[in-house]
């Protein structure tokens, strides 16, 4: 009888700890992902400078093949800025405010960030795989871990609405 409030306190403390750790994982993954969007934004702003810095692999001032690679990469960069970047901002804001839309946006950003490194990996197979592995380590793996972490605290966001 007397143990019940104590048990309740321990349970709440464990729950709060779990929420903190899960959110920490999610925010770390979102921060890593944001670095990618910043990289893409910079590339759109000044493509050739981004190419010289090694952020992109194709240049519009090179051979026809390099120009084709640049066009493909620019497509990916544009898509990143139009779609997942606003979603990432929404995820940050929503998670901080304990809103369901934040939880959902974060999950969607993470699902996209599993898809595109996978695409990149298969595209680079047989050639320069280092960039693809970088994308897997920086974005796909943290995204997978963050999905599991956020899923484990879904009730916390559903109840807040």
């Amino acid at each position: 009888m007397f143990g019940t409030p104590a048990n309740e306190m321990i349970k709440n403390r464990n729950q709060n700890q779990k929420i903190k750790v899960s959110l920490g994982i999610a925010f770390t993954a979102l921060s890593l992902i944001s670095l990618g969007w910043i990289m893409q934004a910079y590339s759109i702003f000044d493509w050739e400078s981004a190419f010289e810095l090694g952020l992109q692999q194709g240049t519009f001032e090179g051979s026809e093949l390099e120009s084709l690679i640049a066009r493909k990469e620019k497509g990916e960069a544009m898509a990143d800025l139009i779609w997942p970047l606003p979603l990432t901002i929404l995820a940050f804001v929503g998670l901080v405010g304990r809103k369901f839309y934040g939880w959902l946006s974060a999950m969607m950003v993470f699902s996209i960030c599993i898809y595109f490194p996978l695409f990149y990996l298969f595209q680079q197979l047989g050639s320069d795989i280092q960039v693809a592995l970088f994308a897997i380590v920086m974005w796909a793996i943290p995204s997978m871990i963050a999905i599991v972490a956020l899923w484990s605290i879904r009730n916390h966001y559903f109840q807040y609405g």
């Binding site: 620019k74 898509a79 779609w83 959902l104 699902s111 996209i112």
Partner: protein, 150 residues
């Protein structure tokens, strides 16, 4: 539990019509990217890969779709039909991925695709259906989840 209704079935059938033929064509592509049949299905009758980047991108999209999009579509759709709420979450995830690659293709391939296949094909089965389906499932699933949550 969210019981499937007419809209659920419409989206499911539309999704099957949109995604499954693409994945079937991509399976043919992965078996032999240089075969005439694969090239006819993926880039158009009698056409050739523009360069190795074009071929590699198509192969990469094919692997990603078969490893991620196909299982996600099957699991999410069966879960939605069973009435479990998390099926809608998976549908939203798939919808976001569809919109993501639609935007990528809009920038990368729009000019070439429209030139060879025309606007009608482009805005329907070549590109448009993926965008419409993606947007459709995001809105519909969000509304279904909202009814449950809010």
């Amino acid at each position: 539990m969210v019981e499937p209704n007419l809209f659920t079935w419409i989206l499911l059938v539309f999704g099957m019509i949109t995604l499954l033929p693409l994945i079937a064509a991509q399976t043919v592509l992965l078996r032999d990217p240089e075969s005439r049949r694969a090239k006819d299905l993926i880039i158009g009758k009698g056409r050739e890969w523009r360069d190795s980047t074009h071929r590699k991108s198509a192969i990469a999209f094919a692997w990603s779709d078969i490893l991620l999009v196909l299982p996600l579509f099957i699991i999410s759709s069966t879960t939605v039909l069973s009435g479990a709420s998390w099926g809608y979450l998976l549908w939203i995830a798939l919808g976001f991925i569809c919109v993501y690659f639609s935007i990528t293709f809009w920038v990368m391939e729009r000019v070439t695709s429209v030139k060879y296949h025309g606007w009608f094909a482009y805005l329907t089965y070549y590109w448009g259906f993926f965008l419409y389906w993606g947007v459709g499932v995001i809105i519909y699933s969000f509304l279904q989840l909202s009814n449950m949550i809010f």
